[in-house]
Symmetry: C2
Subunit: 566 residues, 2 copies
Amino acid sequence: MSKTRSKQADARGGDGILRVVPLGGLGEVGKNMMIMEYVSGNSHDSIIIDAGIMFPENDMLGIDYIIPDFNYIMDRLDTIRGVIITHGHEDHTGAIAHVMQHVDAPVYGTLLTRGLLEVKLESAGLLDRTELVTIKAGDTIQLGPFQIEFFHVTHSIPDCVGLGITTPVGLVVHTGDYKFDHNPVDGWPPDYAKLAEFSQRGVLALFADSTNATVPGWTPSESEIEPAFDHIFRNAPGRIIVATFASLISRVQQVVNVAERYGRRMVVQGYSMVENIRMAERLGYLKIPDWMPITVSEAKELSPREVFIMTTGTQGEPLAGLGRLSTGQHRNFEIEPGDTVLMSSHPIPGNEEMVYRTINKLIQRGAEVIYDPLASVHVSGHAAQEEMKLMINLVRPKFLVPIHGELRMLHQHAKMGQELGIPRENIAVVENGYVLEFTADSMTIGERVPGGYVYVDGAIVGDVGPAVLREREILGRDGLVIVDVLVDSDTRKIVGEPEIISRGFVFMRDAQPLMNGAQARIEQVISQTDNISTRALGRNLQDALERYFYAETKRRPMVFVFVHAV
Amino acid sequence: MSKTRSKQADARGGDGILRVVPLGGLGEVGKNMMIMEYVSGNSHDSIIIDAGIMFPENDMLGIDYIIPDFNYIMDRLDTIRGVIITHGHEDHTGAIAHVMQHVDAPVYGTLLTRGLLEVKLESAGLLDRTELVTIKAGDTIQLGPFQIEFFHVTHSIPDCVGLGITTPVGLVVHTGDYKFDHNPVDGWPPDYAKLAEFSQRGVLALFADSTNATVPGWTPSESEIEPAFDHIFRNAPGRIIVATFASLISRVQQVVNVAERYGRRMVVQGYSMVENIRMAERLGYLKIPDWMPITVSEAKELSPREVFIMTTGTQGEPLAGLGRLSTGQHRNFEIEPGDTVLMSSHPIPGNEEMVYRTINKLIQRGAEVIYDPLASVHVSGHAAQEEMKLMINLVRPKFLVPIHGELRMLHQHAKMGQELGIPRENIAVVENGYVLEFTADSMTIGERVPGGYVYVDGAIVGDVGPAVLREREILGRDGLVIVDVLVDSDTRKIVGEPEIISRGFVFMRDAQPLMNGAQARIEQVISQTDNISTRALGRNLQDALERYFYAETKRRPMVFVFVHAV
């Protein structure tokens, strides 16, 4: 990286440093939160872009979700001029309440994004004290030294924006999550003109979505799945159950459009689906004919061919609508032979087993299940390789910072940038927490700020760290044994029989010989020791039992020993 | 299903019943083991087809692998005339030692399959007392009433066979794992002629591989990945590290062929890769030029462009070669900038997170990582939809039984069978344990035999069942708390302070207020009770603490309480 700072920069008015730090995101760089700061002399101003959560990986046992570690922001609270949310998805909005507990600045989002943020702030009791500002694509706002122009991008939720941020050192473009969809369901294509205009003005740096950087070609338009939907609604012999993400408003609209063509009535199931549809309709993002929605009891009166159920659970979540249907645990409906289930989604990596299990159970109950790749019933919301190249060529930035993706995706995005003529040293592939510093003609990768991510488990934020997860892993793999022993306080001989309890280790009914052996080991250890404290005896017993259980079972349960002298 | 048994059947000599039961396989029907029996009057003969293991899903905590529950076979030990292994993969061979502990009958397999079985039987101390019979494609053997013709099929390990089994009620064809590869690396295409000949004779039932039933089209030939390999070997600026499955002998051969072209020397790493290459070379399945293999120290002397490393670990296993390289824990080598890693594999569903984590870490260390879909460096070993249709049309069976796949795949396979003219009632989509009964003109789906699968954890087979797994899940999710309390044997007042231990629950250093609250609850419960047994007091304390912890943390750790009167 060039570390030269030229006089030219100062001449343009940018004698300070622009600093950008991607935060949080389980390796998905800058996905959930970024901070942008401008420091010049005594002035220090910053903005936060997005405040989302991540979902845990399979080996993060017991974790509900993960929020970015924003200690870096905590040290700069008085510099924050605004919080900008690019769109309404959980991985960009889910941590808003955690952030707004600390930050005293307005929150900016489009109408739909605002609606989704309000729900979260309300349930955290923060709605009253948060200033929410509705913006729309095309608007420009000034936050300290940052002039922010919002431009429309297409994605898998309506009303998404990217950001053109004019800073004292130059123009920075942030794509948000995007794809280039020429035929979006809401009829509002991406704002190519604005991107071209940015390019004319000269773009210092492009921060661009890398999610699909390993996917060749061009992500199909949302409208390309309509024929598959039409085919299903035309031919299904009975009820149709459509499952998709509750936030995928455009998908709901597509289903409603097709259902209208065939006169099917809709019953919506699942809290998040009901709430999202209600809000999207109220705010004008979703048009549903008056005759279409029906109640559960109305649905049961009608013939199966006149009904479809709109629900959630495409990731195999056992408690969501589709999961409950697959196990016969749904409150209102049961899967019957003749039902057609349409899963309009892809499994998120890590969820495949759960998703396929759900599909198998639905088939077992007699449903016909249609999912990708059996039919084209889902498209991604993110740009594929050719779109990412188009973005780079439209914007023509001096510096490229691939964001929103794992390292392997950023790396691939960087290679595309190089192919398009951006010198390798002008591309920054960094992980979360690295400080990127910009002047008008340089980009420097600085130190990594301390931090990582914060686990949320139940009602508590951040008390579960790697040590606790490691204990959960051991307990989850091999279980535990607890031994409670009494010894005579004078003779140190064992009193009665030791109590031995195990959980998650062996099936106790079959394990009597093993436990008899353990008891013999306990008695042997006690008979061979004298004149040591009960604590020391406890440690000896623990050592002996750990060795014994490993020798007998090749497992390493956690062993706890309590010794009391009586 | 037709339940009619005609006189015709008897006329053909089949007055008995042919029974086929797929066993084991975590929902992958008949993948790991099948039993075929013929019962007529007092005679009862059977054969076992395959004896494999399955790997656990992500939520089967602590399980090493799973073997089929073969209690059904245990009840018929004296009827077994032979054990036939179709090919050398773990999911068809891995349980051989468990089975041969009980079964007294010869084991039949091709030369390579036999080699792989010998290793397993040897390490279980069963090699001496097991009769292993080497067969080859084209051979015919007679086992009781079963005449078995072995025919060559192509798959992702050499020397695979399918089975044409002439039984008293008709000819049954079992495909084994297969794809129709016109250009296999070993130059030995599938035996289409034999399949056509079966069809001429008339096939009662086809048991066919369904693994890729949801994949449209035709699985590419093994040879189609060669251009990608060539490109990498021609252009890699430094060392190449090739990772693939140790059993994928043909892939190793392809890599060796390309390396020969560019004069690269090979160092093999990882126990299973070393062993498999050694055996495959000894048995003539692998040809490696004499000059190519080198030792680790020789590899370190040469320039990086003259070397490639052949290793395992494509599924993200942390202890396999690639996993150790990705974390800097490899005994012999370290990843350096300029290295190219070629992952010739697909992630098995459930392994994606681990695989991508490994790739990210390799990139972090400076390697260029090439994997599907970035380049065509892997093809499946299983037939896709068009091949499955070809199989059905070649064999033209009366009855179709989709096997080797989850229910959703079998279901799709069945739909293809219907499209090709097999009546729905002549297709059996069943799960493991269902008894299929055949006469010369009928197929009946019978009862499901009890059983499922048997977990192997450490040194013990089968003692871990759903109850133990459920305990592991709870412990893995929320951890545990153990409380040890002393009370005065007369006054029942608390003596000293209770000892409170937690693991996997909260980070103890931060949890002092929580534990103080727990202690207060304990003291309160004890002070409010009198004249009850220490056992009853323990139960009260456990209840109170479970409620307390849930209220405070929304988590449900396992709580254990020990109360002693002193």
